[in-house]
């Protein structure tokens, strides 16, 4: 579904990604973790072309993201993305947030889009908030709406960029619950997160990054058993220490 081949990226002289390669099969849930500044967010944004890269190739559903001839909007329409800071559109109601992409990008009718949106709101438990504005919702609620907004586009895979990092601790679980449900239904997911509980529960593989490199790319059992790299062991000991 997603194939990342020898991707390297520089900001000026500074190299943020070095020769990253991995592959995510259909239905697979892959967690990407690593210390801040390790390039995880940059890597996931390369998958739908929000970040450009100078070397290598990213193939999503058979289409090369880096190719200048690729119709990126068309590709992105079917790759759902959830951001750290939710990024709902503040001037639109929750319902309008769910509708706008379906109507303007997929060409669905307003009624059709509304119905699909409300169905997904139900699913994330926020039907009662349909007519509110994002600023009137809690962080956890906003993030669930953001997930619903991505799902409304009928994505072939979902990218999560630290979806719980900006949340109060008590709201993290309501978002993780939605993600776990999604994972168990067989959605293809690439998730940048430090939530190791989530990784343990539903991930098939864990990728560990440091300084722009993929240090470890292992099945979940291997990663939480004994990571091969010292750096990953150190990282795990630090975040699992409490």
């Amino acid at each position: 579904m997603i194939e990342i081949r020898n991707v390297s990226k520089w900001y000026g002289q500074f190299q943020v990604l070095t020769d990253c390669s991995t592959k995510i099969e259909k239905g697979e849930v892959v967690v990407v973790c690593g210390p801040s500044g390790s390039g995880k967010s940059t890597l996931i944004k390369c998958v739908n072309g929000l970040e450009s890269f100078q070397q290598g190739e990213v193939i999503v559903n058979g289409i090369s993201v880096g190719d200048a001839k690729t119709n990126l909007p068309k590709l992105r329409a079917h790759v759902g993305m959830v951001f750290q800071h939710f990024e709902l559109f503040p001037h639109l109601t929750i319902t309008e947030n769910l509708e706008i992409g379906q109507v303007k990008v997929l060409g669905r009718s307003r009624d059709e889009a509304r119905e699909r949106g409300l169905k997904l709101l139900d699913r994330v438990g926020l039907r009662s908030q349909a007519d509110k504005y994002p600023g009137q919702l809690s962080g956890g609620q906003q993030q669930r709406v953001a997930i619903a907004r991505a799902l409304a586009m009928d994505p072939i895979c979902m990218l999560f960029d630290e979806p719980t990092s900006a949340l109060d601790p008590e709201m993290i679980n309501e978002v993780l619950d939605v993600m776990v449900e999604l994972a168990t239904e067989g959605m293809t997911m690439m998730v940048v997160t430090h939530e190791m509980g989530f990784a343990r529960k539903v991930a098939h593989r864990v990728i560990f990054m440091d300084q722009g490199r993929i240090i470890e790319d292992a099945a979940k059992e291997d990663f939480f058993g004994t990571p091969r790299s010292e750096r990953a062991q150190l990282f795990l000991s630090k975040i699992l220490g409490h």
């Binding site: 990126l72 909007p73 503040p90 706008i100 303007k104 504005y133 994002p134 600023g135 009137q136």
Partner: protein
Amino acid sequence: MNWDWQVFCKNTLDGEIMPRCFGSGGEITYLDWLLSAWGWTLSVSLLALLVALLFGSLMGILRTTPHRGLVFLGTAWTELFRNIPLLVQIFLWYHVLPALVPPLRGVPSFLLVVMGLGLFTSARISEQVRAGIQSLPRGQRMAGLALGFTLPQTYRYVLLPVAFRIIIPPLTSESMNIIKNSSVAFAVSISELTMFALQAQEETARGIEIYLAVTALYFISAFALNRLLHAIEVRVQIPGVIGGSR
């Protein structure tokens, strides 16, 4: 001192006081002239505002795109029009451009002033639009693009609706400035309020009354625009955003 507000009821031809203060049959009073001058001031201002909003928004938007050429175009435009004094720009439009571009010779000076004032102000609006867009979180643009919007769609549906709300206060000041700056039009013989004041006080020797009346009309015009834009600002506030819940 002695006030003589009847000066406005005088016929502009012979100085006779007209019974109803308004002229008739082709004769006009100073009041008629004052109101017509107010009309010119408002026409110049509002049309220039339209030009300024159009070009200012476009140039401001260009400066926030990822395309270097477009950024350069927007920046060059802004710097060109904000580094030359307004009065000089008006003279350039009136004296220099028609000499260099012959087709412009037939264009009424009214339109030249509208373009001059409009483009001068567009540079300032371009700055505000750019600042408004750049004040939005970077993730908003990404969220729009990630949803499958093209760049123009991202601007249209995601960035601009919020950016324009943010910059209503500075845009209000700019709109009021345009009314005040329209007084430079007298320099190219547009019969607006300032021109009226200069000529009428010379003819009637009642400079104080004339200038006070003109001052009041400038104030009323700018203040009315201020209230109108404030009402819009309140109306489009986003619920749940700081300062937005009422």
